[in-house]
Structure formats: C-alpha cells, structure tokens
C-alpha cells in the first residue's frame, strides 16, 4: 500500500497481511540484537503536530528496529508557533529527503490532506488525526486480541466470532473509529457503550451495536472490554456532571471487574486514568493487556512502515 491513512475501507486481506507481518517481526523479541536491515537507507520523518510521547516513541522504535533513518518533528516550540502551515512544514521536511512521513495532527483529515493534495511524494502513515482515525492503534489492538485468543496459531486468523465492548468517549475517539472499522472487517462483533452525550450522531449507521448501559454490555460476557480515556474537561459538566457519576456508570470499577470471568481481556489504548475509567485491580490484572498493547504497537508499526516503503512517488 502507498499510504496507511485509516482502517475505513481497508480490506480484510490487507489487514491480515499487516497483522501477519507484525507477527513475523515480533519474533525479534527474543533475539540478542532485535534489529533487521530491511529499511536501511529509508528515511522516516515523524511529524507530530500534536505531541504524543508514546506513539512517537513507538514509531521511532519501529523505524530503528528496521534500520531506517528517523527524524522527528514535534509541534511545541517549532516553526508552527511562527505560523507555518501543515503544507509548508511537510514539504520542508520532505525536502530533507524523506520517504515515509508519519503524521499526528489535531485536525481530522490532516493525513488524508497530506497524502492526496499533491503536496508530497512520500508515503503517509496516519498516527492519529483529530477525532477521525488512529489506524496503527486499532491494528495493535487487533494484533493483541488475536495473539491472546489464538496464541502461536494466530497467523492467518481473523477475529470471527469475537465480541468486543468499547466504553467511553466514543464521539471524540479516533481509537474507537479505527477499531470499529478494523474489528468488524475482521469479523468481530463490536458493542459501543457511552452516554448519549458521548455517542456519535447517527451511530445507528455504524456496523456495531450500541448501548448506554455498561452493565448490560458486560452481562453478555464479551471476550474483550476496551476502556477509553475520557478527557477531564468533558467530565466537568460539559458532557458529564462529574467524574464520580462517570465512574459509577462507565468506570471499570472493582465491583464490575469482580463480576467478569477471568477470560475477559481488558484493554486500554493508554495513557490510563487510574481510578477514573479503570481501576488498578483491573489494569494490573493478568487479563489486562495494557502493556502488551504497547509492545505490540512496535511490531505493528514496523509492519506499517514495511507495507508502505518503496511506494513513495508512485
């Protein structure tokens, strides 16, 4: 693929290819020198107009494990504060000789604009655009789910018959959007849980079930529960009266956790708000995949870089 912009429209075949490639890369974990020469001479630029330390480090780590050269640009204290535009910044960085541009931006569609406006020759990987998509996050979530459910036999398998509940600020979540597309493409059943104020409009048209009751969704014993972070300002009356009320209805609390079977996976894209959307007993339990997701993020991003490399300028 030339670009990786989102999970919407991605075919099951493309998705499985990425997951299987990531699985191959994950074999590096046990090696003394966890590094491949695959992208030697390839230059990767991380353009983080909106900073996100974990995603940026994950992409840097992925590129370095493939022996690519990496340069990183972050929004704070840069030319952005002097009014330079998305277009000019991207073209300036590309002029330094990049092949792949990884972009994170607060404006939905920014990665799409970079890829489709004739501004650049580079391949573009979306590392999160506004409230639109965050495809590598969804890929690492699918990878993690598949790995936990199928173990060593995961390669080639999709997520047919798997049920996943996603809880929290669905309306403003790029993680939720990418996961809805990817998980359903891979055959999973997705249930979204949120109060009406955090439910996207026309959610009825999404290929998912949706409910306002977390307890109802949990009563069906899903294989995985994915908790989303809720921004503090949304809990101070704008979308929810108080954190206490949010926790009572939508938090993975001690009581809710204790009712879950041990087989239910607990996922979170991080960073987590302990004691708000998730309590430590759940976050630190053996069924939590939170740190595994971080590790898998590197394999998946290696697969993404590998998938788009060599396509620039075409």
């Amino acid at each position: 693929m030339k670009h990786l912009l989102g999970c919407e429209g991605m075919s099951a075949e493309e998705a499985l290819n990425l997951l299987d490639t990531a699985a191959e890369f994950s074999a590096l974990a046990g090696r003394k020198v966890p590094k491949l020469p695959t992208l030697r001479g390839v230059s990767v630029a991380n353009l983080f107009f909106e900073d996100s330390t974990r995603t940026r480090l994950s992409f840097e780590s992925a590129a370095k494990k493939l022996s690519a050269d990496v340069i990183t640009f972050t929004g704070q204290g840069s030319s952005l504060s002097k009014g330079e535009s998305l277009k000019d910044t991207a073209q300036t960085i590309e002029a330094m000789g990049t092949h792949i541009i990884v972009v994170r931006h607060s404006s939905s569609g920014a990665a799409w604009r970079l890829a489709h406006s004739g501004w650049l020759h580079s391949s573009v990987i979306n590392a999160g655009d506004g409230t639109h998509e965050h495809p590598t996050q969804a890929l690492l979530d699918a990878f993690t789910l598949r790995g936990r459910l199928h173990g060593d036999g995961a390669i080639g398998k999709d997520l047919s018959g798997v049920s996943v509940v996603i809880v929290g600020d669905i309306a403003h979540s790029r993680v939720a959007r990418s996961n809805v597309h990817l998980l359903t493409t891979l055959g999973a059943t997705v249930t979204l849980v949120a109060p009406k104020t955090l439910t996207p409009s026309e959610v009825e048209q999404w290929p998912v079930r949706h409910t306002t009751s977390f307890d109802e969704a949990l009563a069906e014993h899903p294989q995985a529960v994915m908790m989303l972070r809720v921004q503090n300002e949304r809990m101070k009356g704008s979308h929810f009266p108080s954190p206490r009320e949010y926790i009572a209805h939508y938090g993975l609390s001690v009581q809710r956790f204790r009712k879950l079977p041990e087989s239910t996976l607990i996922m979170h894209p991080g960073p987590i708000n302990r004691g708000v959307e998730i309590f430590s007993i759940a976050a630190d339990s053996p069924q939590s995949t939170i740190l595994e997701q971080v590790t898998n993020g590197v394999w998946v991003r290696m697969a993404a870089l590998y998938a788009v490399h060599g396509q620039e300028g075409s």
């Binding site: 920014a110 409230t131 639109h132």
Partner: protein
Amino acid sequence: MSDVLIRGAQLLGASEGDLGIRDGVFVPADDIHAGAKKTRVVDASGLVALPGLVDLHTHLRQPGMDHAETVLSGSRAAAAGGFTAVFAMANTQPVADSVGITDLVYRLGREAGYVDVRPIGAVTKGLAGEELAGIAGMANGRAAVRVFSDDGHCVSDSLVMRRALEYVSTFGGVIAQHAQDPQLTEGSQINEGALSSRLGLTGWPAVAEEAIIARDILLAEYTGARLHICHLSTRGSVQIVRDAKARGARVTAEVTPHHLLLTEDLTAGYDPLFKVNPPLRSDDDVLAVREGVADGTIDIVATDHAPHPSESKDCAFGEAAFGMLGLETALSVIQHSLVDSGLIDWSRVATILSSTPAQIGQLAGYDAPLQVGSPAHLTLVDPTASHTGEMRYTASSNNPYLGRSLPGRVMHTFYSGRATVIDGDVVEPDVVGGES
C-alpha cells in the same frame, strides 16, 4: 453614451421582442435607428433577456482583505455573472460599522462603475454582537444603507437582536440575520450527521440554524420589524419560514446557489474548497430548499460570494476558512437546479434574482423589469451554452464548481445602459468609465 438596440431576445424567457436603450433607460425599440452611426445593435436571437441581477449577499473584502478581492475585481466578477447591483457585506477590516466605511465602499463601487455597490452596515460594533453599530449614521450617509447584517456572525443575544430589529426599523431598514447558534456550533466544520460522525469532523447541526430562525421570526412578529434570513440551508428552516409566512410574518429568506446544488458528500475528501458556512447539507435539504424557492417560501437567491486567498484553503480542513465563490456561476447554477429541472421559469428567475432582492434592499429601478422608462439594467443569457464552472474575474480561486458541467452563459450585461459585458467578456475599466 450610444443607443442600443437589442434584437430578437426572449423577453423574460417568453415572447420574442426587441429592446431599445437610450440615455441609460429603456425606450421603445422603434425609437432607436438601427442604421445610425452611434447605435450599437445586439443580435440577441436565442438569448434570454433578464433584468440586471441583484445580489443581496456578497463579500467584496475591501477594505482590509484586498488580496482576496477588491470592490473592482468583485464588481467585474459580478458583471460577468449578469449582476448590475451587489450588496457588500460588512465583515471587512475594519468592519463596516460606521458611515466612514460604508461610504468608502459605496465610493469605490462608483469608481469601479460596473455595478451598483450597496454597502451593508454591521448591526453591532465590530460584529461583536454586543453594542449597536452606527446605524443611523450609515442610513443617512451617501450610501443610504438600508440592510444591516453581522453576517459571518449571528446576532445571538436575544436582547441585542430585539433592540436591533426595533432600531433598524426606525430607519426603514432590515436586518439580515446569519442564523447560527454559536454555542451549538462551537468548533463545527460540516453538517452534523452520519458523515461528520464518520469523518470525525465536528458537526454543525440543523437545529443551530432553525432555533435562531424561529426565535428571530417571533421577535420580528413581536416588534413588528422586518427580518431577512441569510443563506437558509435546511428542510426545517424552510418549514419554519413557510409557517411564519402563512401567519403573515414580515420575513423574507434567501438561499445560496451552492445550497441549491452541492451536498455534504463533497467534503468526504477533506477538501476545504467545500467548507462553507452554513455547511453543505444533505440531498433532502437540497430538495427542500428547491421546493422552498418554487413555492415562494424562499424569496431570493443570493450568492454569499466569499473570496479567500489560497493560503486559507491550502491547509487542513479544520484550519481552513469557511466560504466559496459564486458571483460568476450563480445564474448557471440556478438554471441547472431550478429552471432546467422545471421548478421555475425565467420570469421567476427575474423575480428571485432581481426585483425581489432589490425590493428587500430598497434599491430603486428594479420594480418594472425591461419596461420602457425603467433604468436599462439588462442581462442577456444564452441558455443553450455550457461550461465547466470556470471563473475568470474574481481575484480568488476558491471555486467549488470547477470541472462541473453547468448550463448557460451570460453574453451581455448592461448597467444603466452601459455595456459591462460584451460577447461574454467583461469590458475594460476605461470603457465602463467609472466615476473618478
């Protein structure tokens, strides 16, 4: 000024006839001698003769944003589109909230000489929605402002709106409201619905327009003032206005060409060319506004021609400016969406694009179109021509129609008897001869 004889035009799209122009007014065609040296004869066979078009909603950007448009470039674009009068919105820099600015814009229009440029005054100082602007001064200035609008911003405070309606009516003016509840549209980018939800762009819900329209109609009825609603865009808005008119409320409404034709799906590729306020809506809304024009609920079409420099569009969607061009293509879009579709005939086009906007804006000379004795404001359009949305005269390039097949072409425009467009080309400034 030479005499003009227009031969064989379809007058208001109906019967074929000749038109004579002398000293800036229509005279009987028989009074003009075709063979005389000083007579210009225009073969108008196959062309539809319309009165000069009047745009109640234009952004000419001068003063302050001359890199996007000037009164001169915008006037030329207007002439190319068949217009002989445009009302220039107040959101310039500085804002047209005092007589100094409105009279300046008026004078620039006279100097350009292509169309009658009628400045619109701001309702509130600096468009801030708080204190009333210098309304009486603007009304009593040379420009004799009669339309007041904070367009681009909504007069959202109910008390300010009430006072504005009352105060403006003191001077026989009208408020043209940009109906947008600011709280309901915080950060909004495109129409709220399945698409905004999928694209992750903040939605601009229909109710944010409809709630203000409903409130303002009630305030207008209560105060007895006249109200004009700018660029109405939703089915719900059409119904609210329809009901209000049935009660006898003194309300008029406009729709833009783009809301008659373009739909929200165009924003799916995050191209800011299609970012406009109010946003492009659904197919059903487009149907509803067309029906609204056809049944008279919507009184006029006005362009909301909004030039922007390319820097304001060559960026991420969320960072781009709202607005699209429209003067040069308005008539084509109307022909396509309303005339060719059989909803209205050319004489209704003359009403919604000339006599009624002139009446709302209290502009004289447009009440007896093409009639002997009326000022010779005339547009001759070839309805059989077609083009692909090119715009040649505006100083900006945020054209949403480029590449789209559209019918009709303005071949000649006469403003007070003077040709501003000949054979499809706008005449040069020294030919049109504005005031110096």
